[in-house]
Structure formats: C-alpha cells, structure tokens
Amino acid sequence: MCQNCQKKPVFKLISGESLCKNCFLRYFEKKVRKTIRVHKLIDKKDEIAVAVSGGKDSLTVLDLLCNIYKENKNVRIKALLIDEGIDGYRDASVAHAKKFCKERNIPLEIHSYKKEFGFTLDSVVKGRKPCSVCGVLRRNLLNTHARAMGVKKLATGHNLDDEAQTIIMNQFRKNVEASARLGPLTGIEDHEGFVRRIKPLYFMSEKEIMTYAFLKGIVDDFNECPYNKESYRNQVREMLNQFEELYPGTKHSIVTSFMEVLPLLKQKEKGNGRIKQCQKCGEPSSQDVCQKCIVLQQIKSA
C-alpha cells in the first residue's frame, strides 16, 4: 500500500517505498520543480522552446512547464518539432504532437529535413549510421530555429536513463569534451550562436516518466524509431537496464556521481576558445567546418 495514504500503489521507488497515484504525481512534479530551481534552468522572464518529438518524454516536459508557469505571464512556452522524414514512425508522432499542442493552445513550429536539406533521413542512411547523421542534423536545426524564434532556452525531454547512457558512451569513447557539455543545463559557457538546452527531467527515470505520462493521459500508442534498435546507444541502454535490475539505483548513481565531477570538467574545458565560426555556414562550431556541413558534404558526394 502507499506509504502515505494506504491507497493502491502505482509505483515502487528504488528505496522500496510505494506510492499511490496522487502521491506519485506529487513526488514527480516536486522533483522536477526542484531540478529547475536548484540548477537555475529557467529565469523569471525566459522565453522557452520545448523540443518535441511527440513521444512521452518531450510531451511530459511541455505539459509540466505549461502547468508550472501558467500563472507566470513572463515565462512563455512554445514547441519546436523537427521532422526527419522517417517512414512509418514520424508521421504518427507529428500528428500526436500537433493534437497535443492544439488542445493546450501551445504555439508549435515544425521544420523538416526535406525542406531544409532537400532529403529525408530514410533516403540517405544506406551505408551510414542513421543516429549519427540524424543527431547532428537535428541538433543543428533545433539550435538555428530556437535562435530564430528568439527564445532564451531550449528544453528537451532528456531523462536519467538518457544521461546515464551518454555518460557511459562518452567514457567508452574517451570523449571528455562531450561529457563537459552535459548536465541539466548543457554547454560550458554562454555563446550568442547557441541556445542553451535545459533538461527538466534530468533526474527522472524513463519508468517514472512513462508512469507519469500514462497517469496524465499523455501517452500515445507505442511508436519506436526503426533505427533505434541498431544504435550503439541501444546496446548501452540494454547493458544498463540489466545492471539496474541486479543492482537497483545504478543509473541514479552514474548520474549523481557524474554531477559531482561535472563542475571540474566544465572548468577544464572553459576558456579553451574552442567555439569558432564554421567557414561554410557561419554557425558556431568547435572545428573550422561544423559537423552539419561535414555530414551534408558526405551525403552530397556519395
């Protein structure tokens, strides 16, 4: 039974405590508010774009931020969606995101690879790692369009599982610089070309988010990117899920111990003068030519 009110439980925390629907919803919202407050994710007059995919994580962030700031007219929330062109997957999630935003009267901007780059993801992935192409291009479009929308922050649905996976992937690939950019507030320092990304669900597990989204009626039918299963991330996810089963709290420990060293990593990378201007497109980049232009060149010359 629920530890607080003796009602039927819907969730069992790692500590072993059980919570009923109302206590779980309160626990979840309190933890997200604390993340926003403690890590100073949102200022009093911020305009925020939420990067939505139509999935449970991003729509949960959108729903939560709209509720938290509904009385505060100075914080304005919009939604931004990138349609990569993935047949049998993206159409359904775009439709769900459109419906979700319309019902709540949230402005939604949609941009596509087809219109921006002249191709769909499906048409260029043969012989390539789809997630590597998609990640680079999607991040580029999210940043350029968030900047064009004039927002101060870009909120994403990244959660505890995503972050634990990324930390481990960066360790396995010896990519300290990429780890330094992680955290609930991404990036190392402010730069006029970059809209800083915030992750309000940083300390919430995928299971907690799914439970919350289900209880709030946010979940649509299960819809998985067809490229997901073949990704490196998916292998790390499965490994961590196995560990979590045997040693509950593993993912939480990875992220919280990482948070202790993150200030040192950011300090190490700060002031390295690594943000340049891409020689081809003028976007901010750590190299002379940005990753987006490199990927586009590879696709063009194939």
Partner: protein, 68 residues
C-alpha cells in the same frame, strides 16, 4: 494466491502472449522482461511488481523505451 493463465499484450511487440503467473514479478520473469524497462497496466490502472493477479484481469505491458 492462485496461479492464473492469461493473455498479456506487450506494446513493443504489438502482440499478445499467453503467460502463467501469480503476480507481476513472475509474469515479467516469464516474459523475460526487465521491470525497469516496462510498466504494467491491469484493468486500466498502473500496478507495481507486487500486484497479485485475479481472475479475468486484463493485462498490458508498456515499454518505457524512448521512441528515438
């Protein structure tokens, strides 16, 4: 506590499985699913791994994996 044989719908596979189990924990073990990778819905309500099945329970298992 009774052992029930029931049909369980798993959304990631988009199909029903026939499973014999007393509770959610046993059911997930039989389906070879990890409890941190799914939530279980019985008669429209989310339940924990300790839930003990009753006759005619309608059971759905929902994957928590992000779509991508």
């Amino acid at each position: 506590m009774f052992l029930w044989t029931m049909k369980v719908y798993y959304d990631r596979d988009k199909k029903d499985y026939t499973v014999t189990a007393k509770n959610v924990k046993e059911m997930l073990k039989e389906m070879k699913l990890l409890k941190n990778a799914v939530i279980v819905v019985v008669n429209g309500t989310v339940v924990t791994e300790d839930y003990i099945f009753s006759k005619n329970d309608k059971v759905k298992v929902l994957s928590v994996v992000s779509g991508g």
